[in-house]
Amino acid sequence: MKFLTYFLSRTLTFILIIFIGVTLVFFLPRLMPTDPVEIMLNNIQANSSTMDADSVAQMREVLTQNFGLGGNLWDQYTAFMRRAVLTQDFGPSLSMYPTLVTELIGKALPWTMGLMLTSTIIAWVIGNIIGLLAGFRKNKLLSKILESASIVLYPLPYYVFALTLIMLFAYIIPIFPLATNVMGMPWSWEYIKNLLYNSFLPALSLILIDTGWWVLSMKTISSDITEEDYIIFAKLKGLSKNKIMWNYLAPNAMLPQVTALALRIGTVFSGAMIVEILFSYPGIGMLIYNSVLQSDYNMIVGTITISILAVSITTYVIDLAYPLLDPRIRLR
């Protein structure tokens, strides 16, 4: 019963979060002192040749239509929410007319999710294992070295590593490619090899920093738990160190880390975005960036809304995993 209440309250919270997030996306352009239609017109005129007055007026009509700026605010809002959440119709991309925004997102999203999920899982697993060992055997030299390494890695912005790796391994020692260019038909062996080759550096930029974070936080948690009575008693019971670490320490230390993982998905997504931009990796981050550069309003709104949806749902799923692991919440 307790689990059901937990499940319902979390679901409600996440629905509200998505709601607020998408509302934000709706309102922001309207809160700006500038008129998005005007800006769009200026940008279009700046990018291409100037248009005569009639064309400009026509353009303005079309843009206002597409932006959904016609009608009063409430109508706009309901129309937008209906489109964004239910039908997910964001219209055609302005810069890649007439390809639908959703189609472009559909192609890009798997790249981002693949990159993000792979790096996050690898970093989480490796980081937690290292942290667990470091916290359990606190005084060994290796533990202290790992801790210091994590302290240097953890606070850094993701672009620092992306740039450093590019400098080192794409320019100075050109092992890896600069921009992503995956060849071959999908899922042929050549394709997979190419995919891994191109994804290596982007993934590494994310993994290195994330691992630092998990190592550090896990070390704190695990060294705290090592002082708990049941661990001391487990030692008195004569259990082997390995058994204590994996059967007693790990299941308990993992719980706060699962919650932490859920909270971190937003940050990791932002990191994946910047890494994509720097490596020209064809994910949704790259889409957002390009759409902003080209003032492709439909795409901007579409990509950002989908990002919010994707991240919120991922966070939600991980959050729900928590009670599965903690019997104190699962059972009365």
Binding site: P29, L163, G266, S270
Partner: protein, 280 residues
């Protein structure tokens, strides 16, 4: 001083030394030099490093070393301002939510969680694109503050929740003290000492956000910060041309600043723990 040396650890010492170096470069050195060294076309372009220009000059005619100094200063100042206001807002809202409970708590928590779950970078990019070209430092800072208050608020809220349950608060309540007095005398000391430690974290997060935006060109490009320095270097294909100093210097400086701040923070925490007798 003696007790400092006795209880301090390597982390704290290295962190402080690096911080002093950074501070000197960013704030003390420029006092001996005019502030125009970073204006465009002050010097001939692409000069090799030498005595006149320690790191050489870049494609915009700026002396890289003095550009670095200015960038460090700007980045740190932005970080400080954002962290300051974000912490105040965060602590206030966190305490309000934790102590009041009920609807106030639920609404604040919802907004808080939204800002944590929803990825900040896309929204920041959206805002930046809408303000295209018109991003003043103030607007930049305001936007960053908007996204920085949620973490401190969350922590303070959970602290307030747990403190609320503690016995000494009940004692104070029963002894008839007014709620405001309780707030100030009992809660504030806890929360302030935590905020002091967390302040550095917030500075780091603010600099991180600002520089990330700047690197992809979404910030105010004429403002000299570490992020914009990297941006211009990328724009002018510094890597392709082998101008390693131009792109390398700000990257390394960023690493050093972040490392120094964080090492000082965790070193200070260890220092406190050792002083209180909790051996590592």
């Amino acid at each position: 001083m003696k007790s400092f040396l006795k209880y301090s650890n390597l982390q704290l010492k290295i962190g402080l030394i690096l911080l002093i170096i950074i501070f000197t470069i960013g704030f003390i050195f420029p006092l001996f030099r005019g502030s125009h060294a970073d204006e465009w076309n002050s010097y001939p372009k692409y000069l090799k490093p030498g005595i006149e220009h320690i790191f050489g000059t870049n494609a915009l005619g700026q002396d890289i070393f003095w550009l670095l100094a200015k960038s460090i200063r700007s980045s740190l100042i932005i970080g400080l301002i954002v962290a300051f206001f974000a912490t105040i807002i965060g602590v206030f809202l966190g305490m309000l939510a934790g102590l009041q409970g009920g609807y106030v708590d639920r609404i604040i928590s919802l907004v808080m969680d939204t800002f944590i779950v929803v990825p900040s970078l896309p929204i920041l990019i959206l805002i930046a694109s809408l303000l295209k070209g018109q991003t003043s430092v103030l607007a930049m800072a305001a936007v960053l503050i908007l996204f920085s208050w949620s973490w401190p608020a969350r922590q303070v809220r959970s602290m307030a929740l747990s403190l609320r349950e503690r016995d000494f608060i009940d004692t104070a309540c029963f002894s008839g003290e007014s709620k405001l007095k309780i707030l100030i005398k009992e809660f504030l000391p806890f929360i302030l000492s935590w905020s002091a430690a967390n302040f550095i974290n917030t500075i780091l997060s603010a600099i991180r956000m600002e520089s990330t935006l700047a690197v992809i060109g979404m910030s105010n490009n004429s403002l000299a910060t570490l992020g914009t320095m990297i941006y211009w270097a990328l724009q002018y294909q510094a890597m392709l041309q082998g101008k390693w100093l131009w792109i390398g210097v700000p990257v390394i400086a960023t690493i050093v600043i972040f490392g120094a701040l964080f090492m000082t923070l965790s070193g200070a925490q260890k220092y406190n723990a050792t002083k209180r007798g909790q051996l590592a």
